[in-house]
């Protein structure tokens, strides 16, 4: 039943998680700039505050006071709507992501997730599948050639890699027998031979790699950042966007990165599990954050290292390599499950 207690608990959790998410996004941007600087033998932004820690705040203020340009020939309503469509689903996914087991605060047992629904995994997929509209719409409504090309390319890329992404998690569902993300993590709790954790990455490494590659493509990051290939398309679908509307696409991209990293952690790396987490459940969120941080670092590292795919290479890789391998992986994992259970 819906009581005031539950409602207050939800609102508090949503508030806290949302605040942490936004802060995390701001600081991932800073981390990326500093790390890229480090990789490229330069300093990166270090002037605003100690170690440049206040840089995100300065960036935010700058976004706020920059001129808000709406091109004359743009479709005004859709032009404004596009960044909203990109941002809203990207921020919503966090609501079904569990980041720890239950803890007790002030004598009240609190589960460390905003909510747990029995199709949590599909909720995330449904929300990410809507992200394509923000990009397609931004490209079309700007009435600029670069935007339209970037938007179309990006949409085709997103839907192509979405197939591999959904096929790669089938193996995980076979093992968990549930779409509830909490159940998916709990199934990875125990150990083999007493010391190898039962993480899905060990039973289905191919699935993990496919998921990782497809997730990087889904978030439009290097080496799949074709939509904003600046050498040919200026900035792709957000060429014409400025001020806060540009920031919204930016936030959406980083929120999607956080979501993708969390999903990789939940599905393949045992979520919040780690040493001593059974005795001290508060360690759960810490392990979870560390694992996410690893993936975020991977994102940045790849950006500092890899060149960009050509578009035909990207399409060929997605359709002719990832999808058949993902299908074979489904058969393989199903066979493995037959042997184990």
């Amino acid at each position: 039943m819906l009581t005031t207690d539950i409602l207050i608990e939800w609102l508090v959790k949503i508030g806290v998680v949302f605040f942490i998410l936004m802060t995390a996004i701001a600081y991932v941007v800073l981390l990326e700039r500093r790390l890229l600087g480090f990789i490229q033998m330069r300093l990166g932004p270090n002037r605003v505050g100690p170690f440049g820690l206040l840089q995100p705040l300065a960036d935010g203020l700058k976004f706020l006071f920059k001129e808000d340009i709406v091109p004359l020939e743009a479709d005004k309503a859709l032009y404004v709507l596009a960044p909203m469509i990109a941002l809203v689903p990207a921020l919503m996914t966090i609501s079904v992501i569990p980041f720890g087991d239950k803890i007790v605060i002030l004598g009240r047992e609190i589960a460390l997730h905003i909510t747990s629904v029995n199709v949590g995994l599909l909720v995330v997929f449904a929300l990410t599948s809507l992200g394509v509209y923000g990009i397609a719409l931004a490209g079309w409504s700007s009435n600029s050639k670069y935007s339209l090309m970037g938007g179309l390319r990006s949409s085709a890329q997103l839907i192509s890699y979405e197939l591999a992404l959904s096929l790669s998690v089938v193996g995980v569902i076979i093992f968990s027998g549930s779409l509830d993300l909490v159940e998916v993590v709990k199934q990875q709790n125990s150990f083999w031979l007493g010391f190898i954790p039962k993480w899905n990455i060990f039973t289905q490494p191919i699935g993990f790699l496919i998921f990782l590659i497809a997730a990087i493509a889904e978030t439009n990051r290097v080496p799949f950042d074709l939509p904003e290939a600046e050498t040919e398309l200026v900035a792709g679908f957000h060429t014409e966007y400025s001020s806060m509307k540009f920031a919204m696409f930016f936030i959406a991209e980083y929120a999607n990165m956080v979501t993708a990293s969390s999903m990789a952690t939940l599905l393949f790396l045992g979520g919040w599990y780690g040493p001593f987490v059974d005795k001290f459940p508060l360690l759960g969120p810490i392990y979870f954050s560390l694992k996410i941080l690893f993936f975020l670092f991977l994102y940045i590292w790849l950006r500092g290292t890899l060149p960009r795919f050509r578009y035909d290479q990207l399409m060929r890789f997605g359709w002719k390599f990832l999808i058949p391998v993902a299908l074979a992986n489904v058969v393989l994992v199903a066979g493995l499950a037959l042997l184990i259970y």
């Binding site: 949503i14 006071f65 941002l87 809203v88 339209l148 192509s160 001020s243 806060m244 489904v330 499950a337």
Partner: protein, 127 residues
């Protein structure tokens, strides 16, 4: 199956919050930002030159094909989900090979379509 529907309400609240934040951001930039419009500034960006022709050009049919194939393969991919969920339960109720085999047949038929598309060159972006 026993998770109550009210667990979906936080997602709805989150939707409201995200929508409010998005609206707030759109409003704030038009509120606080300066506005000094000029004709050049509001033109579509084309590397500093005046834009040539219309941006609403027609596009390659390849994008259309990709979207079409995506629908078909996405429907097939979604069928894997309920199968995977009941995989272990059904392999106890029936024989293991039955559950495995029924999906093998499905994948085999899917592969026929996939190979057909491949052989027809639809997946070759350069053609």
């Amino acid at each position: 199956m026993d998770a109550p529907i009210i667990n979906y309400i936080p997602i709805l609240i989150m939707f409201g919050l995200a929508l409010a934040v998005a609206t707030g951001m759109v409003l704030s930039s038009s509120l606080f930002g300066q506005h000094v419009p000029s004709r050049q500034k509001l033109m579509p960006y084309e590397c500093g030159k005046d834009p040539v022709g219309s941006a609403r050009e027609r596009f390659s049919v390849k994008f259309y094909m990709i979207a079409l194939l995506f629908i078909l393969f996405d429907i097939e991919a979604i069928f894997f989900v309920p199968w995977a969920v009941v995989f272990r339960k059904l392999s106890q109720d029936y024989s293991k090979l039955f559950v495995f085999g029924e999906m093998l047949i499905f994948i085999a038929i899917l592969l026929v379509g996939y190979i057909y598309v491949w052989r027809k060159g639809i997946l070759d972006w350069n053609k």
